[in-house]
């Protein structure tokens, strides 16, 4: 497994994050209240005290509350995780090897989908009617009325 790195995000709503991951192709997502170990393509873990070190001790493994297992990404991939930080947001934990597939453009797409789910949820809770329109540039416009 290659080195894991973390990316800060503004994803605070777990359900919206899971839905957004489904939108970008990851329909099978694990959710763990207290976190689960991220597993690399060789079945090994990374040490939570040093994300570059291998360990076979699951108690020392880097963990995440929201995970996409490598089997659903690519046979050569490592698990993808999202771990809740002190600010309440889920930081993305991505191995360097997988950074080419989970690159900035992918994160932007995931963020767009996450935002849409948050908008819809908030609009519904506030009693708005929502109309959705896809724009030619890839943007999505929500028209909220009440």
């Amino acid at each position: 497994m290659s080195h894991y790195s973390a990316l800060a995000t503004r994803f605070k709503d777990r359900n919206c994050l899971v839905a957004a991951l489904g939108d970008v192709g990851y329909k099978t997502v694990e959710v763990h209240e207290t976190g689960a170990a991220l597993v690399g393509y060789q079945g090994d873990y990374r040490d939570k005290s040093d994300w570059g070190l291998h360990t076979n001790d699951i108690a020392r493994a880097v963990t995440a509350e929201v995970l996409v297992r490598r089997a659903y990404i690519d046979p050569a991939a490592n698990d993808l995780g999202f771990a809740r930080g002190a600010d309440g947001a889920f930081g993305a934990i991505i191995s360097d090897y997988d950074r080419s597939r989970h690159d900035d453009a992918w994160m932007a797409r995931l963020t767009q989908r996450y935002n849409l789910h948050v908008d819809r949820k908030k609009a519904k809770s506030l009693g708005y009617h929502v109309k959705e329109t896809a724009l030619p540039n890839g943007a999505i416009k929500l028209t909220l009325t009440r």
């Binding site: 800060a8 360097d96 963020t111 609009a123 416009k141």
Partner: protein, 60 residues
């Protein structure tokens, strides 16, 4: 219809919110959506104990 708000979610992950019609002031109308999505507007690397001072690894 008393209120109409347009939200555009862009492919780069940014959002724009426009109040088309509202009896409230714009800030009151848009704040719930801004708050729901949080204040961090972009993804960025964050430190963890294992990566401080380390660059991209070529280890697999």
């Amino acid at each position: 219809m008393e209120e109409e708000i347009e939200i555009v979610e862009n492919p780069d992950g940014t959002s724009t919110i426009k109040v088309v019609r509202s009896r409230r002031n714009c800030r009151e109308a848009t704040k719930p959506f801004e708050d729901a999505k949080g204040k961090v507007a972009e993804t960025k690397p964050i430190a963890n104990p294992g990566q401080v001072g380390q660059g991209i690894s070529n280890r697999r």
